[in-house]
Amino acid sequence: MTIKTEPIFNDSFTGEPPAKRAVGYIQGKREKGKHVAGIYCGYAPVELLYAMDIVPAVLCAFANATIEEAESVLPANLCPLIKSSYGFISKDTCPFYSFSEAVIGETTCDGKKKMFELISEKKPMHVMDLPQLPDEAEALNNWTVMITKLQSFLEKTFDVKATTEDIRKAITENNKKNDLVTKILEFGALPSPVIGWTEMHDVIFLATPARGNDIYTTLEGIIAKLEDRVKQGYVHGAKGSPRILVTGCPTAGDAAKVFKIIEETGGVIVAIDSCVGLKPFAEKVEEGTADPIRSIAERYLKIPCACMTPNNGRIAELDKLIDKYKPDAVIDIVLQACHGYNIESYKTGEHVMKKRNLPFLKVVTDYSQGDTGQIKTRIEALLESI
């Protein structure tokens, strides 16, 4: 018997791609005269933006359609996320970019750094030098300085100010939002998960730009609906479907073909360990400290991106997620030419297979649909091996 459930968002964006709802949110803010800054990455310290009443807009990066345009400037053998991002900007087809009065970037990889130079010719662009040896004593100091410099950039560009108290308040507000989002995503951890990846994306795409005070009620309403689903005995996917934890590069839009194949093949995605997933909402900024900027820096340096070395946090976090979400297999998604995640996949795979005794599959892909046949074969074989 199938149980009918109400979608977690029941609004005019239901059934639309998840970014549409974020467009609606930011458009509303713009109409009220709020400033908007474009961001690309989980390292962007959004608490600081909220403290200055600036709306962070996550810029478009997941469509195959814009890559052709980008390749007239960028090399073809570059990560699709960078090519797609740049294509959106050169075609000016990303609404988030149009809303943005400035763009904030971090030096996570060479491709991004060089793309930022190109963006800087079009819009005010602020690049933060992200320390990549996070265990070194200097890393925290340096990153704190970078966030302070971002504050000066935003103050100058937008003619706004934030007091220490404003930042503290924004931290508390954002921590609460992150807690609620994490709680929603944890409905995937249930023995019979009641949330699927598309609904996870719906939540993540809205909660990344939106500030806590604007969406608490929405998030709490979603939690209530999910609790109802549990009571009704609803299960996302078929009962007893193989549980898949996906890890690796951010995956959305056209790259979500991998997620679709996982579901078509009979698997259910219980956790998304990436920057369009659990990562941006996982750690909390310490509240009530004397130096809130330093506390923000501390939290962001804990994000276990493959650009870090050593990136021990990745395995530690993965272990926690495996314990909580109890997957039957782990799939590591690597975007083509993302050397960090590609190389790190070896260590990740060895850990998952040898220490956690779970089947592991690495999928290297881009945004085209040309490899769906090959990916399907691999995922079918992985599920057969469970």
Binding site: M353, G373, Q374, K376, R378, E380, A381, E384
Partner: protein, 246 residues
Amino acid sequence: MRHAGIDIGSRTVKLAVVENGSVIELKKTINSHNPLVTCQEILADVRFDTLTATGYGRHLLKNYLNCNVVSEIKAFAVGAKKISCECRTVLDIGGQDTKAISLDESGRLNRFEMNDKCAAGTGRFLEIMAAALGYRFEDFASEALSAGKAESINNTCTVFAESEVISLVTQGIPRNEISLGIHKSIAQRAVNLLKRVSVEREILFAGGVALNRCMIELIEKELGCRITIPEDPQMVGAIGCAFLNE
């Protein structure tokens, strides 16, 4: 009960029928632009009670005949174990895929690796290289074996490798030396893929490329051990499919 297995590959379609634990029928044919028609032709006068499909066309056939489907990896794992019960590692080089599969003692799938979407190092690659050198495909392996030394080929991408081969030809390098170099580059790639999963013996070499004598010799040399070649290496997947319902 007669159980049929069909492997709808990118270049060929293979069919196996088993009854009471023995293979009673084997057929293969070249695939076409219309794999469904090719499947209908190969199945036309075959009697069976169950049908399981693998290979790239498996879902196409499922939509048409509502047969069972299974991934090539599982099909080759089962087929290899049926052909040789000591098998622990399978290397399959087909028309557009290369797979390395490791099995545990009981024949269960341990690990597998596949080439990415690019057809580098597959049967198709060999066909294109043979054409670039003006060889008939069936002569390619023996010509390569006739070379005293191998010209090194650095590109594994089919398109780049073709340019590289053309540039070597224009430099006056004997084409059998280039051929040996091409075979060596594929053998090296295949062995690297194997090393990622397992090189535990017995190693069974399947797929159309396992018909290539030069490739067998080079892979054995690279691994430092003998590898097992089934009577018809192209049939392993179809046989695996057929046995899945036994």
